[in-house]
Amino acid sequence: MKNSLTILTLGVVLMASTSIQAQTQNPDQNPNYQQSRDKYMTQTDEYSQKQGTTEQDTYKAYDWTEHKEEVKQDRIDRRQDRRLAKYQSRRYYYHPHPYYNNGYYNNGYNYNGYNGYYNYNANPYYYPSYNYGGYNNYNSYPVLNSLLLGYTLYSIFN
């Protein structure tokens, strides 16, 4: 008897609390709001972390001077690549007299790599001082070099 009374009391309390909650709810509120709530409750972190930040969604506008600079840079890069390729090909196939390497003498009878002339670059260490990589190391120490030049000139004329 006591158990059933307790269950009944709990049931009444639960119903009362539900009705209070229903009363506090806005009557104009969409009854399906829970669907949207459930959807966004799982995504809050994703959006809130971007708060106070700037999303960069930029586009590239045409600028005559920038375009000119880009074309110039492309040309420099292309020349550099071509020069580099030329040096690299020279390293293995360079011959001091290109005439002899035009197929006339090099007629396929090239026994053991000998074609009548010494191949200077068969040994890649023969000309080890080529600078294949960079183009801006012609004068790495302008101040030092100028000092040396100045000192040399000074000492010559003294």
Partner: protein
């Protein structure tokens, strides 16, 4: 002959050293210096001044205060830069936030990563701080409005001449009702000749 050599050597030395030299001088942060014609601190400052003025003087603020008898609480959302340049909106947004707080007309709440740090600290206090100083959960102020924005630009260029137009818009949206209550706007037009 000897007399010539020494100055010549000095000249060589000077010529070698000159390109390496550069000067740096401090200037007033309010001074207007335009170099390339791109977006710079002057534009940011103009935007901040104009939008702060608009936000604090327009009707939405008075209407909210009349209805609620308290200043509105704003959280800063995301600003989307859709222009042709890299623009960081934080430079003018921070100026605006500062003006909001100093004027005491608008309250601000923290959002984004900084809010996460605050919550992490609060969580840490639950196990490390004394009971009397430990901060409680669930007592943050809920924002009434979210401030979001866009930066747009139009570029008209021909050879060395260029006209750049920037339009910065900020808007406040009521978080409860989704109603936009304020749109601020600042337009900047520049004529650049290279």
């Amino acid at each position: 002959m000897k007399k010539i050599i020494l100055p010549l050597a000095m000249a060589f030395f000077a010529m070698a050293i000159l390109p390496a030299c550069h000067t740096v001088s401090r200037v007033d942060s309010d001074s207007e210096i335009d170099i390339s014609g791109k977006w710079n601190d002057v534009d940011s400052k103009l935007v901040a001044e104009e939008l702060t003025k608009q936000a604090l003087e327009e009707q939405w603020l008075y209407q909210f205060k009349r209805a609620n008898e308290r200043p509105p609480v704003v959280i800063v959302g995301m600003v989307t830069n859709k222009s042709h340049e890299h623009i960081e909106a934080e430079t003018f947004i921070k100026n605006m936030e500062r003006e909001f707080i100093n004027s005491q007309k608008v309250k601000l709440v923290q959002g984004g990563d900084k809010r996460e740090q605050i919550r992490a600290e609060r969580a840490d206090q639950q196990t490390n701080a004394s009971v009397s100083t430990m901060k409680q959960w669930g007592l943050e102020i809920g924002a009434d409005f979210m401030m979001q924005g866009d930066i747009n630009s139009i570029v008209d260029a021909y050879k060395r001449k260029k006209v750049v137009y920037y339009q910065v818009n900020l808007e406040l949206t009521n978080i409860q009702t989704n109603e936009i209550v304020w749109i601020g706007e600042k337009k900047i037009k520049k004529y650049v000749k290279n």
